[in-house]
């Protein structure tokens, strides 16, 4: 028996703060997570004791920094069941997905090739592939979704939507609007049978449930550090060794080269050829520290806790007349209050100290799919609690009374 959720919550100093004079109820974890004290301390300790540039120094301090950076890569590898040579440290999931689309996709895509995506995906995944498709003459194919936003695998199989022409499947493991856990294992299997490659956007999955890229047999797997307790500006692209070797770097410069002549240069092996210029060392260290913290609690326990809070919130919201819940998965719940624009509702919650996201959530095609201009999204993390759930439900009820009272 580890520490209680109440004790764990104490690790997050910001949760003791206020917003609009009210105790902060932070329910925008799918946008970015809060940081535990150990991660904040790891960043400060790095700058107090270990800061130098990596790879470049001939002195002990630089070697120490390099060890810390490479140690973080090792931690990431272990965290998702990969080898360290398969871990590219990037600026975040968006940078990772762009690297997959333009470093890997662009050179292999041909006119008429197909890229399978879904309307439930985040713009960072969709738009990168739209551009890669435009540049190569490849075509985006949208996989059919059921009403809950989940890919209808039976239809995909029956209609052979993933087939001979499919070069790439690009899909989120967990979607950011409804928290849908996509059947990616089956889809990866289908794309492999078709001879294609699977690029998985793990931004809402990593740090929220156990991820094993080898078990999934993902070809590429992208995620951000800031959505799983570390700082912004650090992320990961996992790629199978052979595929990373086939991927072209997008940034050129210092430390990614092997030998430089006057007109051309040769590059290091993956992952180093993708890490040009001075890297985000404190970011990598904060990510390593976050991984240790999450692993100690246990990803299975975290997944169960977040789903428990998400379900409780969805049930409470559904019980309010006029509230429509579009979906709930893990800690994510998307909903609307009849007659009230999501932005107006979010402002009403804001004045009560409750932070939620309102709008399109970087997922315009998903809003069209749901046929709404936007939704309110509450996203719970394991450090939220039942009081936060109650605060949200009370907050929505009060907002409803407020707006109806004005009529």
């Amino acid at each position: 028996m580890g520490r209680s959720w109440t004790e764990i919550r104490e690790d997050f100093p910001i949760l003791k703060s206020k917003m609009n004079g009210q105790p902060l109820v932070y329910l925008d974890n799918a946008a970015t997570s809060q940081k535990p004290q150990v991660v904040i301390d790891a960043i400060a300790a790095f700058y107090q004791k270990d800061n130098a540039n990596i790879y470049r120094g001939t002195y002990e301090l630089s070697q120490r920094t390099t060890d810390l950076y490479e140690g973080a890569r090792e931690q990431v590898a272990k965290f998702i069941g990969a080898d360290r040579s398969e871990i590219v440290l990037t600026a975040g999931a968006t940078a990772s997905l762009n690297l997959a689309a333009f470093g890997y996709g662009l050179p292999v895509l041909r006119p008429g090739d197909e890229i399978a995506v879904t309307a439930a995906d985040h713009h960072s995944n969709l738009v990168s592939w739209q551009e890669a498709a435009k540049m190569t003459g490849a075509k985006l194919v949208y996989l059919p979704l059921d009403l809950g936003g989940k890919v209808d695998v039976e239809r995909v199989k029956k209609e052979q939507i993933i087939g001979k022409k499919t070069k790439i499947l690009a899909i989120a493991q967990v979607t950011n609007v409804l928290g849908t856990n996509q059947p990616i294992a089956e889809l990866i299997n289908l794309v492999h049978q078709a001879g294609g490659v699977a690029v998985i956007d793990g931004a809402q999955a990593a740090g929220h449930l156990p991820v094993d890229v080898k078990k999934l047999d993902a070809d590429f797997y992208a995620f951000s550090g800031h959505k799983m307790l570390s700082q912004t500006g650090i992320g990961v692209l996992y790629g199978k060794k052979k595929l990373l070797e086939a991927t072209r770097p997008l940034f050129f410069g210092g430390e990614m080269i092997e030998e430089v002549g006057l007109t051309s240069a040769t590059y290091k092996k993956a992952p180093y050829k993708f890490e040009a210029g001075s890297q985000n060392v404190s970011g990598a260290i904060s990510l390593g520290s976050a991984i240790d913290y999450l692993t100690e609690i246990g990803l299975d326990k975290i997944a169960a806790r977040e789903a428990e809070l998400g379900k409780a919130a969805a049930a409470g919201l559904r019980a309010i007349p006029g509230v429509r819940v579009y979906g709930q998965g893990g800690g994510i719940v998307s909903f609307n209050l009849a007659g009230i624009h999501p932005h107006d509702l979010a402002t009403a919650l804001d004045t009560q100290g409750i932070a939620v996201r309102a709008g399109q959530h970087c997922a315009q095609p998903m809003m069209n799919f749901l046929q709404v201009p936007g939704t309110v999204r509450a996203s719970f993390a394991f450090y939220n609690n039942e009081e936060d759930v109650s605060a949200l439900i009370t907050g929505v009820k009060e907002a409803k009374e407020f707006f109806h009272g004005l009529r």
Binding site: N20, P342, H343, T347, A348, G359, M367, P373, E398, R407
Partner: protein
């Protein structure tokens, strides 16, 4: 605190404006059409303007206007008020009104003269207390300013 602050923003009269925009019928004849989208929340506006300039370029006025807005209450109310306030005004005056409106959204006190010019648009002064919503109130004014700019650039 809390809902008190909210009632300073959502005044009944603003909800009326939002629910009953006067100038939301598409124009049959128009000179400029500006379409703007607030990508973070999905507010969308299509603003159509017909100018009257038979009195020389200094005297160009907004002759007809239509604002097709879909979005939150603040945005819809601001759209409705904007159309009523700028209709029949000289372009140079509208440009000044926009500047004054932006000043107000940034939390600055306005001179009496500016307040008079803005009319009911001053009902949106409370938005300055909600930085996340400033874009919502500003978008319709941004649209009319863009229509004027295009007209002046002869596009």
């Amino acid at each position: 605190m809390g809902l008190d602050k909210l009632s300073q923003l959502y005044r009944t009269i603003l909800l009326d404006y939002a629910a009953h925009p006067k100038y939301a019928q598409p124009l049959e004849i128009l000179d400029q059409e500006v379409r703007l989208i607030n990508h973070s929340c999905g507010d969308q506006v299509t603003l159509q303007v017909k100018f009257a300039d038979d009195e020389g370029s200094e005297m160009v006025k907004i002759d007809q206007i239509a604002c097709l807005a879909s979005g939150c209450t603040i945005f819809q109310a601001s759209s409705a008020i904007m159309t009523e306030q700028v209709l029949g005004k000289k372009l140079s005056d509208v440009t000044k009104m926009k500047a004054a409106f932006y000043q107000m959204l940034e939390g600055h006190d306005l001179a009496e003269d500016d307040k008079k010019k803005l009319g009911d648009a001053t009902l949106l002064a409370g938005v300055s207390q909600f930085p996340a919503r400033i874009k919502c109130a500003a978008l319709p004014w941004q649209a009319v300013a863009e229509a004027i700019e295009r007209k002046q650039e002869g596009k």
